[in-house]
């Protein structure tokens, strides 16, 4: 004779096991991370690698400086700062100095010359207040020379031989990525120099490295 004294217990256990073995619910968790993001591109959206050519700098009877600019598109999802650092001035094809002066970093003015701060997906579009401090070109433009020598630039490339903050602001982009055409601000950087009787050369150059990062 088989004992059924423990049958209810066995059946209960079987039911619990059956219940536990076949779940009809499940959970799917999707997660991700939106990191801090800062971007400097050329106006075409490509890598920033611009050349400002000042051309042949022949001295003349004028106090007007020769200048050039490069425009940079900037995006960020957080308050940012931009630093600039200039390399040393490289002079090629230099003639004899003969007691004169070579062109130097102190002879080349450097400034933020213009900014476009609006866009459909620019945060605080229309009310942005980027701060370039002493690197902002005054409304009157580049200073003119009064004596045919290097004018009094607010800042020159010599001032950024070590990395210096040249611009800062609040978050730029509302959303969108690097393809988006209205989520960036455009900042134009300029250099200027007065053509003078510096020691002749065939070329001079300096590389300015811009770095954008979180404030």
């Amino acid at each position: 004779m088989i004992s059924f004294k423990r049958l209810p217990i066995l059946l209960g256990a079987a039911m619990m096991m059956a219940s536990a073995a076949f779940a009809q619910t499940g959970t799917i968790t999707v997660n991700g991370n939106t990191p801090e993001a800062f971007s400097l591109t050329n106006p075409a959206g490509g890598a920033l690698s611009s050349t400002i050519s000042l051309g042949v700098l022949t001295p003349a009877n004028t106090g007007t400086v020769t200048s050039g600019t490069a425009t940079v598109n900037m995006r960020s999802n957080k308050a940012y700062k931009v630093t600039a650092q200039s390399s040393a001035l490289t002079i090629t094809g230099g003639g004899a100095t003969d007691g004169g002066d070579d062109i130097a970093l102190t002879d080349i003015g450097f400034a933020v010359t213009a900014m476009t701060l609006t866009g459909g997906n620019v945060a605080s579009s229309g009310s942005r207040t980027e701060s370039a401090g002493a690197f902002a070109l005054p409304g009157t433009g580049w200073p003119a020379s009064t004596d045919g020598l290097t004018p009094s630039f607010s800042r020159t490339l010599n001032d950024i031989q070590t990395a210096q903050q040249i611009l800062q602001g609040t978050r730029i982009s509302k959303k969108g990525n690097l393809m988006t055409t209205d989520n960036f601000i455009s900042v134009t950087f300029g250099v200027a120099t007065l053509p003078q009787f510096f020691t002749p050369n065939t070329n001079f150059s300096a590389v300015i490295t811009l770095t954008m990062a979180s404030q």
Partner: protein, 209 residues
């Protein structure tokens, strides 16, 4: 074998309960290893780029059901985002930025046919293949054919998928008696407020219709 009267009552009551529960477990929802469906699928680091292709991730699960009235997949969702920086007039990623679609349903060899599985309107697409032509979220919502997680958040226990009986049995040792469903999620990395995000999709398999 002799059962007393009280034992008989207990025995038949237990059998009745088991039969009742047996009907309740006519469906089995598992992952692709026949285990409990508990998937964690990361998008990872959503750095904005220049691509038109959204970041995507997907999960597969199996549906077994021998219920003659078919089955339904009910889903609910919650979405959480934790900003790690000030919003400052920008946008923070939301559930409506995450595309959700059933990108495939593959019936096993022993499933009932012809199949007539029905995907909820707007969810019958693959979010990974939707181009972000302007670098922004391309998903327009279920009403416009490109559903997002926000559609599920707004409609708890919505029927995501339904269909007729899957197979004549729901045994998980059978490798041919299930539907393999793939849900794909898509998200375009953008200059959203720095944050961490998570969306939890609760999936429930019940009798149809």
């Amino acid at each position: 074998m002799v059962l007393g009267r009280s034992m008989k009552v207990v025995f038949f009551a237990a059998v009745a309960i088991m039969m009742s529960r047996g009907k309740a477990i006519a469906q089995v929802l598992t992952n692709t290893s026949n285990g409990v469906l508990s998937a964690n699928i990361p998008f990872g680091n959503l750095t904005p780029g220049t691509s038109t292709t959204p970041a995507s991730t997907q999960v597969q699960f199996r549906i077994r059901s021998n219920n003659s009235t078919g089955y339904k997949i009910l889903v609910s969702a919650v979405f959480n985002v934790t900003p790690t920086a000030l919003v400052q007039g920008g946008n923070t990623v939301s559930a409506s930025d995450i595309g959700v679609g059933i990108s495939s349903i593959i019936p096993g060899n022993a499933t009932s046919s012809p199949r007539g599985d029905t995907i909820a309107a707007g969810f019958n697409y693959d979010p990974a293949t939707v181009a972000a032509t302007n670098g922004m979220t391309p998903y327009t919502g279920a009403a416009l054919g490109l559903a997002t997680l926000a559609d599920i958040v707004a409609n708890p226990n919505m029927t995501l998928l339904s269909g007729p009986k899957v197979a004549n049995n729901q045994g998980i040792n059978n490798q041919n008696n299930f539907l393999t469903v793939t849900i794909t999620f898509g998200l375009v990395g953008q200059f959203f407020t720095p944050s961490t995000l998570s969306g939890i999709l609760n999936v429930r398999l019940v009798d149809g219709p």
